[in-house]
């Protein structure tokens, strides 16, 4: 594989892949927040 094909392939897949993985992680965070919502008792427990 010549340098240019290597470079463009790695750059395009790399940029798309990074963006895609982080987008999935942002969805994962939203999902976690939905599954484990903050309970006001947590702050009460902290104070207690």
């Amino acid at each position: 594989m010549d340098s240019w094909t290597f470079g463009w392939t790695l750059a395009l897949i790399g940029m798309t892949g990074t963006m895609l993985v982080l987008w999935i992680l942002s969805l994962l965070i939203l999902l976690l927040k939905k599954i484990f919502p903050y309970q006001p008792e947590e702050s009460a427990a902290k104070k207690g």
């Binding site: 790695l10 395009l12 790399g14 940029m15 990074t18 963006m19 993985v21 982080l22 942002s26 965070i29």
Partner: protein, 357 residues
């Protein structure tokens, strides 16, 4: 080279540029260049640490555990869409890769140079010790020097790429959203599993950062958390710095290529900043002007320095603008982004058959 080592000591001690790294690197560079001392010879004492910690990639990974233990991902958990700025802030890596190839670097050498754009010392060290150990000294010095120069590098780029009106956008005081303890504990575990499945070659990088963060958030292993962010990180930083300095032997370091590496490192971090800001502009348009594009500059891994630069720059143009918490979210995204970008890169290289499985 002894003079260059002394210069690094001067920059670290007198100018305060990343002293924790530049002092041991500078001293290592002096030690390794003392005639007849053979510090990196077969039985040299620096050779032992280099073979044990750098060649095996263990040192940067141990530092990642410390970074994870020191990082609070709360701003990111509060505002997850901002994580995309952390992805845009890594594009400089890939653009610099193309530039390095155009300048005649070998494929894996170009990868090592480009990863300076991760703006993340341990990631740069991990990748370059894996693929281009002969360039470890130049890559590490460039990565840490430019990280400490972020407050000088970023503001001019911010001014060139944004209008005064954009810089004045008020995002308001970020509302602190409470995040449950369970979410904070499950987050590092879930990220490790999902991100490592998506980019398996990066599992050591992702896994160690998230292990450190789990120690922090679990709340039940304070001694391990404390050891990770203090004793382990401090000891490994010292040895890693010495080892990096030990790679700076005159015949390997005093080459025109070293100057090119330093120049490309500067380009990489500038491109990261530029693409982050441009992505911020896109988000500004898509949200009807609710996002100040300046926070895009914080999508790099220099945490929390870059977020502070954004806050200071925003305040210059509008005293009512408080960008710090928004920029912190982008900055935390940049920390994860740099690790993910390296992980994706390693996995693609494996997929292309350039490196072994």
């Amino acid at each position: 080279m002894i003079l260059i080592g002394s210069l690094l000591l001067y920059l670290g001690i007198k100018k305060g540029y990343e002293p924790l790294l530049l002092v041991p690197i500078g001293f290592g560079a002096i030690l390794v260049n003392i005639p007849l001392a053979e510090m990196m010879g077969k039985d040299g004492f620096l050779r032992f640490f280099y073979d044990t910690g750098v060649l095996t990639e263990v040192f940067p990974l141990l530092i990642f555990i410390g970074i994870g233990a020191m990082t609070d991902f709360q701003p990111l958990l509060e505002n997850p869409k901002i994580i995309l700025l952390g992805a845009a802030g890594q594009f400089g890596i890939f653009l610099t890769l193309l530039l390095a190839l155009a300048l005649g670097f070998e494929k894996l050498d170009a990868v090592a140079v480009a990863v300076i754009g991760a703006c993340d010392g341990p990631t740069a060290i991990y990748v370059s010790s894996k693929f281009a150990p002969h360039m470890l000294g130049a890559v590490s010095v460039a990565a840490y020097s430019y990280m400490s120069l972020v407050p000088l590098i970023q503001p001019p780029i911010m001014r060139v790429l944004t209008t005064e009106k954009e810089r004045q956008i008020v995002m308001g005081v970020a509302k602190r959203q409470p995040i449950s303890k369970t979410t904070k504990i499950v987050f590092p575990i879930a990220v490790t599993i999902f991100a490592s499945i998506l980019a398996p070659k990066g599992a050591p990088l992702i896994g160690t950062v998230m292990l450190g963060n789990l120690l922090r958030e679990s709340g039940c292993v304070d001694r391990l958390k404390s050891a990770s962010e203090n004793e382990i990180t401090n000891m490994v930083t010292l040895l890693l710095g010495l080892c990096i300095g030990a790679t700076m032997e005159a015949d390997k370091f005093l080459k025109a290529q070293t100057l090119l590496v330093l120049a490309l490192g500067f380009v990489a971090i500038s491109l990261d900043t530029a693409v982050g800001i441009l992505f911020g502009k896109v988000m500004c348009v898509l949200t009807g002007g609710k996002i100040n594009p300046l926070i895009g500059a914080a999508g790099i891994s220099a945490f929390p320095m870059s977020a502070r630069v954004v806050q200071a720059e925003g305040q210059k143009y509008n005293k009512k603008s408080y960008l710090l918490m928004h920029a912190m979210s982008a900055n935390a995204g940049g920390q994860i982004g740099s690790v993910i970008a390296a992980a994706v890169m390693l996995s693609v290289l494996q997929g292309m058959g350039i490196v072994g499985g």
